[in-house]
Amino acid sequence: MGGMREPKLQESRLSSIWRHARLYYWYLRANWLSLWAYPVPFIMMNVAGIVYALGSVAAVWVLFSKIHAIGDWTLPEVMLIYGLSIFSRSLFHLFWIELMNTSAMVKAGDIDRLLVRPLNPMYQLVAGYLDNDDWGELLTAVALVWTSLGMLGHRTVANVFWCLLASVSGSLIFASIHAVCNGMAFFTVETGGFSQLAWTTDEFSRYPADIYGKGVRALITWVIPVAFASFYPAQVILGEGRLRLIGLLSPVAAILSFAFAYWFWGKAMDKYQGVGN
């Protein structure tokens, strides 16, 4: 069909992106309203979510009741890194969680539904759902970043904006990792273990990346770039020289890793065969 071009259906890449972006507003609006269909369970669940997030933050606080530093990092510095890590993670969790559904959709043949619509398949998957149970962690993360910036004496407008940008870019890194792990569903169908592995990688972003040995540090910088979700962006505020420069490149790292993950997911989807008749 290579020669048959139908000009009316052609759309420039730019206007296609614009169309997807405009539509995203309507997806978000519908998803947000559906979260509030049952407000009491929604609020209760997320208050419990704050307690859940604070439970793991408390472990760091308890540790610092007995020591003054992890490696070279003091409590507010570790809090900032930890805060950026769970900020990125919760943004990923809330907005991208449907990636985890890939395996189930492949099993049920539901990918067909994404393929027949005139919208990007991964976009439909991700935009179609906004998660209901991680808003508590998001609030905790915001509070943690805000507090640690204050304790460090670095709570400037520029730094607050940088933390926001860094968290969005960090969520894109987590999304890339999960897209690759769940994209495996097109090859192996069952992905529970890969998906669990993807969730484990974020643990590496909770503590300063330089406490790890050279090998692990190279791994979380170049291969599974979770260090760009928390440690390096924090260096823009805490560090100087080369580290600070690497930190400023975090959004670039996020875009590159997402470009790869998107390419992989698309290639993997070409293997999709559908089920039944």
Partner: protein
Amino acid sequence: MKYLMYARSEFIRGFRYRANYWATVISAVALAVIQWYLWHAAYTDKDLIAGLSLDQVLAYTLIGRVAAGFLTAPTAALRIGSRVRTGAIVHDMVKPVDLHTQLLWQGLGRAGFSFVATGLPLLLAMAALGVLEIPSPGRLLLFLISLLMAYVTMFSTSFLSGVFTFYTKTAVGVDYVYTVVSLLSGEFLPLEFFPAWLRTAADYLPFKSMHYIPMAIWSGIAGPGEVVPSLISQCLWTLGMVAVSKMAWSGALKSLTVQGG
């Protein structure tokens, strides 16, 4: 014995999902690696923290990672509330078995698989690398007994939280605040690190029977004189939690209404 069959079938079922196996092993290794580096960094300029040496804390947290798969709460126990809502619970009730005991044995089967498949290889690898030292046979035996009791306590707590959601008719159960339970059980770090008031609270709660006691026995954090008393208190908590969860369940059954037919 019929309950043993439940455990056996769950144990065998574990072997069916081989594709995911390596991913699970890599996750377990990754979490152990994080703990190893984290504690080395915490001990950079100190020999003792809260009276514990680096070796003791490493033994405590690494054996904790080995046991983590074994000590994972089975989702079946947490879903009692939803089985009541959907009415699926009648299928459990017509069977001539006690639900708590049945789910416990099924859970043990699955936990046993997880221990053999991921915990044991991790343990052997760390022992071979000299990262984790295996204690004397006597301590090892006491550790295993304690670990088994930890499972029963952990299971009963999850079961109780499942029954609790049945009473409250909401989805929010103890599993939503599970990190707090994990913290108080000593899963994140040994109870010695706690400020005094939190340590007192943890000592009076059943959660330390779910993690701290077996790991303290393995790592030697529990001195020779402390092992027996802590095993006795763990045993009492285990029996107590089993009794409470069975009572809560039979109480729930009395007020159970299943709609439709």
